[in-house]
Amino acid sequence: MKYSIFSLARAALSGHKNWQRTWRDATPKDRYDVVVIGGGGHGLATAWFLASEHGIRNVAVLEKGWIGSGNAGRNTTIIRSNYGLPGNTGFYELSMKLWERMEQDLNYNTMVSQRGVINLYHSDAQRDAYARRGNTMRINGIDAELLDLAAVKKMMPFLNFDNARFPVQGGLLQRRGGTARHDAVVWGYAHAASALGVDIIQNCEVTGFVRDANGKVTGVETSRGRIGAGKVGMAVAGSSSRVASMAGLRLPIESHVLQAFVSEAIKPLLPNVMTFGAGHFYVSQSDKGGLVFGGDIDGYNSYAQRGNMPVMEDVCEGGMALMPMIGRVRLLRQWGGVMDMSMDGTPIIDKTPVDGLYLNAGWCYGGFKATPGSGFVFAHLLARDESHEEAARFRLDRFRRGAAIDEKGVGAQPNLH
């Protein structure tokens, strides 16, 4: 059923009794051309692009829980393409362009809100680093503006300009950045992919790979039985190492916990997405009114999906340092997601050494904003057996070759990225 204000009005007349399932509840077939492991945003986007861009519709998405139950529903919903290194710059801009047409592509309102993302700077060195990055963006055809203090004051008069420990000096603004409604992205891709014939199979956990005599992956064992596959793609953020280990692979990845927080809903207070340059704090305000914010990872390997108080305090200290008007706003919920942190802070989208098995992993904090781009290039790789040009640097062997893409410049220590 096509979604629109008219279909809503029609449905209202019949008491909304006629709405169909947003996606079909599929039972697994014996074999698919492509099996995508992971029913998060990336896996579902991959399936949709396989069907819509490459005409490959005999596709299953296997999800061990319910779709969107991993990091797709645990992030802080920010979208942006303000990266500075070759590889990242082009890829995230590809993703941004796909965000900009997502709702029309999917016939689903994912509430893509290009309200602007500003990274504040507090020193000359930080300004210079942002200038370098902003210029990279501009050279790549991406919007970027370097704001001085006066411009920041005008845009966000509520920041602490008077007695800050690290006074704001300006910011790097990407106006096309913003937020999107994370769950809706999952449901939108599921809705659209299902309509093109993709089977979305929930409560179906992959427990092993089926290999032929040559070692090629020909299917997966699951909690709902064996499913054959021409190719198998992994998009299992938070479980990448565990799933890869079933195929005997070790990855340059550590899993860490990243906490996020939301406040009680209040009337509109923040116009945009902001990152504090002198502490670990970034924030936006959801359409519902909650301040959605976060900071640094807890810093230790974890699959527990919950964090501890030092980081919670650190984040709130950053928030109060930046905008002391939020002191009386109350933190409503905290949660944690498992971040698959790669060794250079940059994702991996590549074939694996195991024939028939394809990897999409290591998104660190960048996973949500990458959703459409990740699906697009992963579908390309699965369909054509070659990297999309915008993902050509996200190869698995880059670490071996010394071609890491290290935006933060901290090296092979995942918890510092």
Partner: protein, 993 residues
């Protein structure tokens, strides 16, 4: 003048009638008493309409009497202290309290946004996902702003919070959450056993439900038992009772978070006091006696003001002597609801009827009804008549199909009780279903925690006392305390029976989540569209995501989902429970760490002297460093910095470099150790000599640099950059303790021990000779370039001198014990006056290092190799060192890497900026020809033009090439020449002279 408290009972209650308090709600004056909450005072004043709902702006009244309240949310206080979404049910009344209702315009009674109710047929769950998509540009411009304005509840102040917060640590054997009968019994048992006990109670009064429901314990009235118990607890040496304190979360290793509302019951905190305090409590054991929350039954019109939880209604009557209604009806599916009738009758209120959904009502209650002259109707409430002024009539579907109507102005509802399973579930535990109470109870808990009493599904007074007591005693034993717990308090176990009833089908909106306007039909719609997992249900309908965190709505919602999917409630399951248990002010989590106190500040030994000179300071990490020293008449920083540079280059200047990390590396294997952490060799460094060193990370990238001196055979003095002082210390300790434990070497930070100054310029020796003991030979022969040794100063103290130069001038660094740093700088000024000595700041320092082509922070970016920096030849091939192997990987030794090179505009008048990119001349900038960027720039007074360093592809091969500096961010494009990075004195004669 405040109005009369028309709905206040003449006597009774736990309020202090001698202390009358005036307050305002929506601008209207009222009065209440000490001991009231804002909600109870509003009840006493007959105020029924207190808020508007989130989506439909429906009129809402007070539903509960606790922190589970979904409706009675107000903006408390005004101006900078405005607290949006404050629950009137937990806000203590104080003299002069001001509160305003929320989410309405222009007024609570006449809210124009109530027009949303007309669109209610369209505004169903998830409607926004299906529309507002065309045209694409309208989302940000029109739809979203309208949605944002309509959403949200209260308004935040928008200006800085004027109050203070702090954070503290507490430690105990047994931590107890809740001071109801179970919590008090646990505290008694643990305290008597000799345990260190902390009891947290979120209310301002201790007793929990005992305050409202009374009862008999150990043969005495509950109030007397509470009083005796408190007397005993207070007398115990290690029992600490914290009221107004909510235990909100449990973290790893027995760490708990609690919020103490220290002064929220006052108009503003007294001087020197905080508003709230965040506690990190470390406890060996935790007893959760957090009680249970009464749950509603969902029926049409159940959000009409005047519909109230049955337990809340009796709390208002019994504890606050305030009557929510004159003539009440009760709708219950369980025995406990009847208590409200008993309380109401005892207070002289009329009871219109009891609607009991159970097949049987006890004979005792039947006789109560006949004595009280009210009917007992077997059936369910199917509709409520009334509006913003409250309930007027209640429609009842009788078992068997008949209908009845009841005239009443208040409806008490009891659907049973849900144990407060939050704390026990925060480690992602899932509670289990217990049939006899039709509720989820804890199924295990985080290590060290146990739930007791109502929080554990034990709803009778006797069971609460015995469970609490037993758990308190056991917790004390587990913590190693062996005292005698004494005798357990005893009370009778009341009868409890319940027939589950979640939803009464009927016409009209029946609310599950009152704050978020989620109705029973929204849940049915979600199921129809495939959102039948509880997490999907929550996310699609927003059920349970409001400020009450679904305390009254979650279980009802999933019970309705269970019914429509044909599954059982336990099969349907719960969502993940997430802390905090109640919302906590962000300011409390920050505590002291805001404004200037966000992070600690480090001051150099010459800081106060520099401040006296009027220096401008710059933040460098935690340090404040003098950036430049302006003089009267100088028009801008550039003029000051240029003067400082010229003074050094032509005379002498000094700069505080105490911020460098300084590490004593001692021991027989100190040299061998340094050989492994540096790319170059230090074991062959002569005593009395310094050497520049470079260290890599294990991945082959440059980590840090600095000068290290050998002061004695087994004694090196290592310096790091300011930025990396801490991380390098940690790295060296890792090398020492983990990688190379066989080496006999000891490390200590001496960063704070030494005040260190760079003294530079051709007249450096002249100045030094003034303050150094004349017996010391400072000649080029007596103290050659890269020499390092201790010298005596005039007047008796020792200093260390290092003949090293960052500026390219003849220079020394001098170190004195830090408390003499202030004296040293003053002595340098005095001794240097004849030579025009000039203090210089970090800007001049930076100018001179760029002129000299020294790399620093912007070049040591963590992505550069030694070869990129032009220092590849330093890498020893005769030994292993950290990073050696990985530095040899193909992409790190590729010929086309970006390497350090000098850059200067071809037009000498042109300014150069860091962050500009390097593009081949005459090419159109694009990702394919972006060859590098400018890393560091300065205006060079020596060359009289802007110069800089950059990282440029094959830069060293391209010296002399004219390229393009492209800076679209700042709208600048200009030609620059790639040049030797050493702009000044390239053969180094000056520093060696």
């Amino acid at each position: 003048m405040a109005g009369v408290q028309a709905n206040r009972l003449a006597n009774g209650g736990l309020i202090d009638r001698l202390v009358s308090l005036n307050f305002r709600f929506d601008g209207k004056s009222f009065s209440g008493f000490q001991g009231d909450t804002l909600a109870s005072a509003l009840v006493a004043n007959g105020v029924k309409l207190v808020g508007r709902s989130f989506k439909y702006h429906r009129p809402r009244g007070i539903l509960t009497a606790g922190s589970e309240e979904p409706n009675a949310l107000v903006e408390l206080r005004s101006g900078a202290r405005c607290e949006p979404n404050t629950k009137a049910t937990t806000a203590e009344l104080y003299e002069g309290l001001e509160a305003a209702s929320q989410n309405r315009w222009p007024s609570l009674r006449h809210d124009l946004m109530a027009v949303n109710q007309l669109f209610a047929p369209i505004f169903v769950a998830g409607f926004y996902y299906k529309t507002f998509m065309w045209p694409a540009k309208f989302w940000e411009a029109i739809y979203e702003p309208a949605i944002r304005r309509a959403a949200g509840l209260g308004r935040a102040a928008g200006i800085a919070d004027p109050d203070h917060y702090d954070k503290a640590w507490a430690h105990c054997d047994v931590l107890i959450a809740g001071s109801g009968p179970a919590g008090l019994a646990a505290a008694l048992a643990a305290g008597r056993s000799g345990a260190r006990v902390i009891l947290c109670e979120e209310d301002f009064a201790l007793g929990g439900r005992l305050l409202s429901d009374g009862g008999t314990i150990d043969g005495m009235p509950a109030a007397e038992w509470i009083s005796r118990t408190l007397t005993e607890l207070v007398a115990l040496p290690d029992v600490r009772i914290m009221t107004r304190t909510t235990l909100f979360g449990v973290y790893d290793g027995g760490t708990y978070g609690a919020l103490e509302r220290v002064n929220d019951h006052l108009p503003s905190p007294p001087e020197h006091q905080v508003r709230q305090r965040l506690w990190r409590i470390v406890a060996k054991r935790c007893v959760v006696a957090a009680g249970a929350i009464e749950r509603p039954i969902v029926f049409a019109g159940n959000d009409t003001p005047g519909v109230m939880m049955a337990s809340a209604m009796r709390t208002y009557v019994a504890r606050y002597a305030a009557t929510p209604a004159r003539r009440i009806a009760l709708f219950t599916n369980n025995e406990d609801g009847w208590r409200t009738v008993e309380t109401a009758l005892g207070a002289g209120l009329q009871v219109a009827a009891v609607v009991d959904a159970r097949p049987d009502v006890s004979p005792a209650h039947r006789s109560l009804a006949s004595k009280g002259g009210f009917p007992v109707l077997n059936g369910s409430v199917s509709a409520v008549d009334g509006g913003k002024d409250g309930v007027s009539k209640i429609s009842v579907s009788l078992t068997g199909g008949a209908r009845a109507e009841v005239e009443a102005d208040g409806l008490a509802v009891s659907g049973g009780w849900n144990p407060a399973v939050g704390l026990t579930s925060y480690h992602r535990g899932r509670p289990k279903w217990q049939d006899n109470i039709a509720a989820f109870v804890p199924d295990g808990a985080p290590p060290g925690m146990v739930a007791v009493g109502a929080a554990n599904g034990a709803f009778t007074l006797g069971a609460c006392l015995s469970q609490g007591f037993a758990a308190g005693a056991q917790a004390a034993r587990d913590a190693g305390r062996s005292g005698k717990a004494g005798s357990v308090p005893v009370a009778a176990d009341e009868a409890f029976s319940l027939t589950p009833l979640w939803h009464v089908a009927g016409k009209g909106k029946a609310f599950v989540d009152q704050q978020h306007d989620v109705t029973a039909s929204d849940i049915e719609l979600a199921q129809r569209e495939g959102f039948e997992s509880v997490e999907h249900l929550k996310r699609y309908t927003t059920l349970g995501m409001a400020t009450d965190q679904g305390k009254t709505s979650n279980v009802a919602g999933l019970a309705i989902m269970a019914a429509v999917t044909g599954k059982s409630i336990p099969e349907t399951g719960t969502t993940i429970y997430r802390p905090p248990y109640v919302p906590v002010a962000i300011g409390a989590f920050a505590g002291h760490h805001r404004d200037e106190n966000f992070h600690a500040t480090r001051l150099t030994p010459s800081h106060h002297w520099a401040a006296e000179q009027g220096a401008i300071f710059v933040d460098t990490g935690l340090w404040k460093r003098a950036q430049w020293y302006p003089r009267a008449g100088e028009k801008d920083w550039l003029e000051s910095v240029t003067r400082e540079v010229k003074a050094v280059r032509s005379g002498v200047g000094f700069c505080d470099v105490s911020t460098l990390g300084k590490i004593d590396v001692h021991g027989p294997d100190a040299g061998a150790f340094l050989d492994r952490v540096y790319i170059n060799t230090f074991s062959n460094l002569a005593v009395g000599k310094a050497r520049y060193g470079l260290m890599l990370r294990e991945d082959g990238m440059v980590y840090d640099d600095g000068t290290t001196s050998r002061l004695a055979e087994e004694q090196y003095f290592l310096t790091t950059t300011t930025a990396k002082a801490g991380p390098v210390m940690q790295h060296l300790e890792f090398c020492r303790q983990v990688l190379f434990p066989e080496l006999d070497v000891q490390l200590t930070s001496v960063s704070d021990q030494w005040a260190q100054f760079s003294i530079a310029g051709p007249k450096t020796r002249d100045l030094l000779r003034e303050i150094v003991d004349p017996a010391e030979d400072l000649s080029n022969e007596g103290f050659p370039f890269m020499g390092a040794r201790e010298v005596a100063l005039r007047g008796g103290i020792k200093a260390r001198l290092f003949r090293i130069s960052f500026s390219g001038e003849m220079a020394f660094e001098i170190s004195v014990p830090a408390r003499h740093g202030d004296a040293l700088v003053r002595n340098l000024m005095q001794a240097g006056a004849p030579f025009g000595v000039t203090p210089y700041g970090t800007e001049a320092l930076s100018v001179m290092r760029i002129e000299k082509g020294h790399v620093a922070g912007p070049e040591l970016s963590g992505t550069t190799t030694a070869a990129d920096l032009g220092l590849g030849k330093m890498m020893s091939t005769k030994k292993d060192f950290v990073g050696r192997v990985m530095a040899g990987r193909e992409a790190l030794v590729a010929a086309d890497r970006q390497v350090v090179v000098g850059i200067k505009p071809t037009d000498k008048a042109s300014r150069l900026r860091s962050g500009a990119h390097v593009i081949p001349k005459s090419e159109i900038p694009g990702p394919g020809n972006d060859q590098g960027y400018v890393t560091s720039v300065c205006f060079s007074p020596t060359l009289d033009q802007w110069i800089g360093l950059g990282l440029v592809e094959r830069g060293r091969e391209r010296i002399g090439e004219i390229v393009h500096a492209h800076d679209p961010l700042r709208g600048e494009d200009y030609d620059v020449e790639l040049c030797n990075p050493v702009f000044y004195d390239p053969d180094g004669g000056r520093q060696r002279g």
